[in-house]
Amino acid sequence: MNDTLHSHEWAQARRQFLKTTGMGLGATVLGALLPQNTAAREPKNFMTGQPPKAKRVIFLFMAGAPSQLDMFDYKPDLEKQFKKPLPPSVSMGQRVTAMTRGKEQLVAPSMYKFAPQGQSGIPMCELLPHLSTVADDLCIVNSFNTNAINHDPAKTFLCTGSEIPGRASMGAWLSYGLGTMNQDLPDFVVLTSAYWTGGTRNVQALYSRLWGSGPLPSKYQGVKFQTSGDPVLFLSNPQGIDSQIRRRMLDTVSEVNRGDFARIGDPEIETTIAQQEMAFRMQSSVPELTDVSGEPEHILDLYGPEVTKNGSFARNCLLARRMVERGVRFIQIFHRGWDHHSVLPKQLPGQCFDIDQPSAALISDLKQRGLLEDTLIVFAGEFGRTAYGQGTLKRDDYGRDHHPRCFSGWLAGGGIKGGQIYGQTDDFSYNVIENPVAVRDLHATMLHQLGIDHERLTFPFQGLDQRLTGVEPARVVHDILS
């Protein structure tokens, strides 16, 4: 069955594309968009040919860059280096930000305790007690690394594979490549948090380009759900219009549109009619999705106390599970507030509280429904933080600057081998010394799990076959796959 999955999905994507763009029967997805002189080609088969391990992705994006040293990359020996200069043999004169340039680089060990957890015994931080209970499902990667040292380009890089604004985002690529799995909801949904237990002082900016479609047709861009008002912009009928009136009005709109189609002949009019009907269906399917009143008490408890707040990370995780059940392909949750340049110990526990229980709940909730196995969950920020302190440096009061050379995150579900730590950094969590995973490797691996060959999923733009993984060689990290 799996053998036919990709061709089936491709056909579905193709049909959907032709339907919604009015390209007509003779055109093919790529053919219609390529320069005409090469249009005669059939679309490339960008599937790997192996059965996909995952059907969908939930990407938990920790915007602002969490400290790998205080959450995942356990360095007990650093204790002895407190306030000692970072050896030049480690820093190697690498570039730093304008904030700490020319300043002394004194080591700031983490003040948090780690202990072995689960059957696998991987060390987990005390700030993450709930994630510790699902440690055997987690593949922690300590060797992520990126090119950019500042938030904006680094976030853009992680989300779109390029620091230059305007490229297609991860979800847009998936939506473009694999098409839709449902008729009533978007393929790619973005959720952002509106609450932070640790305070808002480190909340960094986001940009709609992070879920944009770049040069891909914009129907593939992420649909950002709002935390207040309509979850989808302009979803509700305005005051004075109920669904009966809306239906009656749409009937006339359709009738006149059909008459115009008969007269004018443009198939685009048929698309307009279809999209208006889809809009009408979304008016009931989206509220049904976001209404969690039917969730039983024990499920709400699983996600923790914050789940009652619309716009909390916990609520968004619960919504992500509901979206998975309803066939949304890519769900990206942004939780901001990790930019701990100073007073990290004051801020970090709140941030960890926000994400710990809900993300653990997401794993166990999906698992108990049999959905974890084909849902890939990724947890990562845009870069890491420095081993040396920024600002005040005491045992229990320190900050950390931006650090692109290594950072940590985890993957779960979707064909990932849990209960392991992958990749190793040096004694200072400064340079990767074993099994580096560049951002493009993460992207290649994600696509691979969905059955896509990252080198073949391309789109012509600015004279190049653009791809999510860019022009540098990228590798699928087979070691972390089950």
Binding site: V203, A205, Y207, F234, D260
Partner: protein, 804 residues
Amino acid sequence: MIASVAQAEDVKFNRDIRPLLSDRCFHCHGPGDGDRQADLRLDRADGPQGAYREEAGVIAIKPGSLNESELWARITSTDPDVVMPPPDSHKEPLDEKEQKLIKKWIEAGAPYEDFWAFVTPTMPELPQNVDGAPIDRFVRRRLANEGLSPSARADKRTLIRRVTFDLTGLPPTREEIHAFLVDDSPQAFEKVVDRLLESPHYGEHMAKYWLDLVRFADTNGIHHDHYRDLSPYRDWVIRSFNDNLPYDDFTRYQLAGDLYPEPTRDQLVASGFHRLHLIIDRGTALPEESFTRNVIDRVTSVGTAFMGLTVQCAVCHDHKYDPFTMRDFYSLSAFFNNIDANPETGGRSGTDFLRGLQTPYINLTTDDQDARLNELARQVEQSQVAISEIRKQQKELEGDKEADKKSDEYKKAAAELASRLKQVEAELKAIEKTRDDLLMSIPGAMVMKERSEVRPTHILVRGAYDNPGEEVHRASPAFLPPMPESDETRSRMDLANWFVSRDNPLTARVTVNRFWQQLFGVGIVRTAEDFGAQGEWPTHPDLLDYLAVRFMDSGWDVKALMKEIVLSETYQQTSSASREQFLQDPSNRLLARGSRFRMDSEIIRDQILATSGLLNEELYGKSVKPPQPEGLWQAVSMPSSYPRAFEADSGDKIYRRSVYTFWKRGMPPPQMTILNAPSREECIARRERTNTPLQALLLLNETEYLKAARQLALNILADESISSENRLDAMAETVTTQLPSDSERTAYQHLITDLTDIYSKSPELANQLCQGVELPDGVSAPELSAWTMLASTLYNLDVTKTRQ
């Protein structure tokens, strides 16, 4: 697809062969030095690396001989170790049709041609065996070759709607429609065109396209995404189109307006073109990296806007497909890296910050304001002098060793001085506040300013700001006709003059193609942003050259160009056709009919405002914020972003044309982006058009659009000149320019009847819809509600959002 390459009897290198070689071979055997394999390049015939050269007894391409051409053996091989392109390149092998083309070409002697877009255009001969104006002849010759014929002229209502939208972005009024209908003179259409070209709304509409191209916006676009006020530049663009500033000057002003001997205010404001790039605020990035980023962004925009080339590819490596090298890129960048400005915006306080300005800028003052500012500056100086005088006296007093510091006299003197100081300081503060308040009310325009000394420029190895390589000097790209000889360092003005010289093969072509695209929905070259080897071959190369040469001959007269195009019969064809014809040529590349495409977001919104009578026609000025759903900015802003929360404007400001809408790059207005408006983070030469459910939701439910529908209903119901039988027709004509057909009229009547009935049974809904409205005499709330929904129905029709 149309224009299938295989049907061409005579194979042409540029049209048929170059695209194949470019796509499959140039990556390793092209102009780029970096990845070249086997020391062979297939983009040229001759030379030691060229395709004809013999090496170790092997010739890549032997003209006239398939057997001796290694290329033929390679592209037809089935051996994975031999076949080209190699399997691990992930490039598709050439299919049968493509191989056939190569075969024909080699057999015909494998003739190479210079790349068409890099050869100076000349006036082509007019096709003789077809009728009509020059434009029509070029189009009809192609149609005849394809066995097709042109369509009939569109009806007059369609025509006036089409041309009014195309030239002003607004719908025709009922009066304008009727005046055109009754004008039977042969010049009737031309009169309409002349009227529209004189409308101030023409400039606003033309500016909209230009602002996409130069990524105009109201915020920095990076990090905090702070406010940045570039509105004087926008005003200048609008005015330039309205005044029909010749396009060569339009180019010079923007590229080098600051370098005129005594630049006018307009020329300086236009040089703000160089300040439109994204820019980071000070604090986290390294300034030298920000500097490089800005320069690359600036050169990229010049490449897209004036050259139609993807020059940014050469930031890190020689261009893989076009003969554009890293040396070319950095030599070009040497014209644009000498700005006398900080590469990052300043701190978060002060009037500059609040005004969204960063030096260098000019204050666009009136004479009165100048006088007032001078006077205030004089007062500031006066107060400062007074303050230092008092301080001096205080010091003297304190230092007086003779004086008895406990005496009343001393205390009194000291107290007097202190009080005077306090008073003068307060005065100074008040004056400064008056000055700052005045400054806040004065628009400032950021401009380009050259440093006195030319900054050295280096090739940046792999594009890295901190890895300078060989030094380069200002020069135009080597593969294009050269700039005039000169011993002196060339200026941006020299470069601007080179762009608009008759020899430049790109500027005029790229420009007329964009105007054509604006009027037909797609350019003669579809890839308006890329005229290079990976761009698309023009559907009508001779027509493109005709328009380009004619444009230059006319003195770069934009209005004359627009007029000639819209007066062509090609432009005026009906856009109705059979479903099959639409499927054969979906985007109407062959022009066998009038084009039909969804209007841009701004036009859709402006149409709703105009037809409902809400449109505020005021021209120019700062950006305005029409209402949008709550919380959008907060969800992406930082606590110290300025501005952080969206606050809608009030009054009739919110009904200004969309070209004036405030554009936050991090979160542009959803009414625009849902309908494919770009984020303005990069230069966009053409927007795409999709058709999505989110667009349907926007047009159905946006509350301002519904209010406009209600306003239209009120206007129609309250207009005593419209009889009750004529209301349906009047409303439909207002929105769609057409009168409804009999069946449509019946459908609308049923809708009114049914909805009046529903609203009468649910008066609370009718009251909600009519809230805050004074009902006209004899009109009930359910009636107004039903008519409001009819107006909304009209706004949601496919034909209403479509230019046809």
